[in-house]
């Protein structure tokens, strides 16, 4: 019996387990999925937790609920992968031998990368919202905060969900308005990029929104350290920005197991062919989601589109057929802009986000790169879709894995 092993039962790994369970069946195939955690977190929910929009129970479920019964869930820590021997060594000494390996170990925050970030003020006035703990302690802090300087900050790119810090700034504006203390809060958005976002048209639209919401922007800021005494962040050029609350997105890195296995780059991301999702070094290793180094967004929507294409490619691979070079970097992200509105962006490796309608050209009902209530409803509905459709690997109607150019306004 052949063995396919998936490392990581997060968004990407769980979707692959569901997809492949329909195709690779016993007695020819056995599928295992490995994770040390027992809880599956809806990570986009971390954005809403600090503002009391979601409760913890909205975003946490049990991992095994989403793994098909025909797939073996191995709950334990991975010591390392030995790709040259097709083996996964587990912490408890057991060994998984594979024919095909899917790496879906994700990315996580590494605040220890920046001097002083995880210092005395950590979770007192310095917070992240990319972890459950960070997001929850930030909620508790904001609940009785009376105002001051709120700094929303990105340490370095790439990060998971690159729009999330902007959404945080927009939602903060809305949150303090509702609490009638917006005039007592100064919000500053600090980024290592040259503008609000990485793509020109979206940057223009988003910077306009920042201005409209009276949020200052400090760009080209490469942080050197957090000064816990003076409560300021300082960049390599000596520029200092003071804060009363710092909400930072620390450096994001791939999992340590990738480093221990010698399979990653300097940020522990696995070098991956961007159109086939095959590892550049090992033919029987495939990588999807945040764990890879492909130049696409680290986002659940990307993992969803990747999973459809990777399923086809794994089936080609096991039959000895050539792989399809189909993945185009498709990403689709809602951007919460506060006050019950949101933007939607849809883009890929070669096409930046532009205005238009989605998913039906000329009709919508969702509008691209424009604020609307319908987009916000879409974002909220997405939590249900995530738990009930996305993780199960069900195709989302009318939204194809490759991006459609129809209904979009390219010049």
């Amino acid at each position: 019996m052949k063995h396919l092993v998936i490392l990581g039962a997060g968004t990407a790994g769980t979707m692959m387990a569901n997809h492949l369970s329909h195709h690779l069946k016993r007695p020819e195939w056995r599928i295992s999925i490995v994770d040390e955690k027992t809880e599956h977190h809806y990570q986009p929910g971390y954005l809403f937790l600090p503002f009391d929009i979601y409760e913890p129970e909205d975003i946490v479920k049990s991992i095994d609920e989403f793994i098909p019964k025909t797939v073996d869930l191995v709950q334990g820590a991975i010591d390392k992968v030995v790709p040259s021997e097709n083996k996964v060594l587990m912490h408890d000494g057991s060994v998984l031998v594979y024919d095909v390996l899917i790496v879906a170990t994700g990315a996580k925050t590494a605040p220890e990368e920046i001097e002083g970030m995880k210092g005395n003020e950590w979770y007192k006035s310095v917070f992240d919202f990319y972890t459950f703990e960070g997001s929850l302690s930030l909620r508790n802090k904001l609940r009785d905060w009376k105002g001051g300087k709120l700094v929303v900050h990105i340490t370095e790119m790439p990060i998971k969900c690159p729009v999330a810090p902007l959404e945080f700034a927009f939602l903060a504006d809305s949150y303090f308005k509702h609490k009638h203390i917006r005039d007592k809060v100064e919000i500053t958005y600090v980024t290592p990029l040259s503008g609000a976002f990485t793509k020109p048209k979206a940057t223009e639209a988003l910077e306009h929104l920042l201005q409209e919401k009276n949020i200052n922007i400090e760009s080209d800021f490469a942080i050197e350290h957090v000064d816990n005494e003076k409560k300021e962040i300082v960049d390599y050029g000596g520029r200092a920005i003071p804060f009363d609350i710092l909400v930072t997105v620390p450096t994001n890195k791939g999992d340590e197991v990738i480093a221990r296995s010698g399979m990653g780059d300097d940020l522990n991301y696995v070098p991956t062919h961007k159109a086939t999702l095959q590892s550049k070094e090992y033919a029987n290793v495939f990588v999807l989601g945040d764990a890879s180094n492909i130049p696409a967004s680290k986002a659940g929507s990307v993992a969803h589109f990747e999973a459809e294409i990777l399923t086809d490619n794994i089936l080609h691979f096991v039959k000895g057929e050539p792989l399809k070079e189909e993945f185009d970097g498709h990403a689709n992200c809602f951007i919460e802009t506060g006050n019950g509105k949101a933007l939607l962006i849809d883009f890929n490796y070669t096409h930046e986000p532009v205005e238009g309608t989605f998913p039906f050209p000329g009709v919508g009902p969702l509008r691209l790169l424009k604020e609307s209530r319908m987009n916000h409803m879409g974002k909220l509905a997405f939590r249900w879709i995530y738990w009930n459709v996305l993780l199960k690997g069900t195709h989302i109607p009318f939204v194809s894995a490759s991006m459609s150019e129809a209904g979009k306004k390219y010049n």
Binding site: E156, P158, L193, D220, A222, E224, Y236, D266, L267, A296
Partner: protein, 102 residues
């Protein structure tokens, strides 16, 4: 877009980055540095040469990578090319502005 610099014609994009590295030479580098108000010293050249080598090897550039390159640490990189060092240095080196992937 064409631009004349150091007596030569070079192709640049709307942000002033050269679009054809083959057109670059040291005199163009000097002239681009003058435009950026930077006086090139041998240390600047160490960094520029390193960036060009990485570009030829198709290695994506980031501040973090340069800090770990052993050629220059980030602090000195900022001293050599103040404010936005990676953007300024790549422009002088005649290579594309690094795309921070998203």
């Amino acid at each position: 877009m064409e631009k004349t610099i150091a007596g030569k014609s070079i192709a640049v994009n709307e942000e002033g980055y050269m679009t054809d590295f083959k057109q670059w030479d040291k005199s163009i580098g000097e002239a681009l540095a003058t435009e950026a108000e930077i006086n090139l010293t041998p240390r600047h050249w160490d960094v520029l040469t390193y960036l060009q080598t990485e570009y030829r090897n198709e290695v994506p550039l980031s501040i973090r990578k340069i800090g770990k390159s052993g050629v220059v640490d980030i602090k000195e990189f900022y001293q050599l090319f103040p404010k936005a060092p990676l953007k300024t240095a790549t422009k002088i080196a005649g290579i594309p502005k690094p795309a921070s992937c998203i």
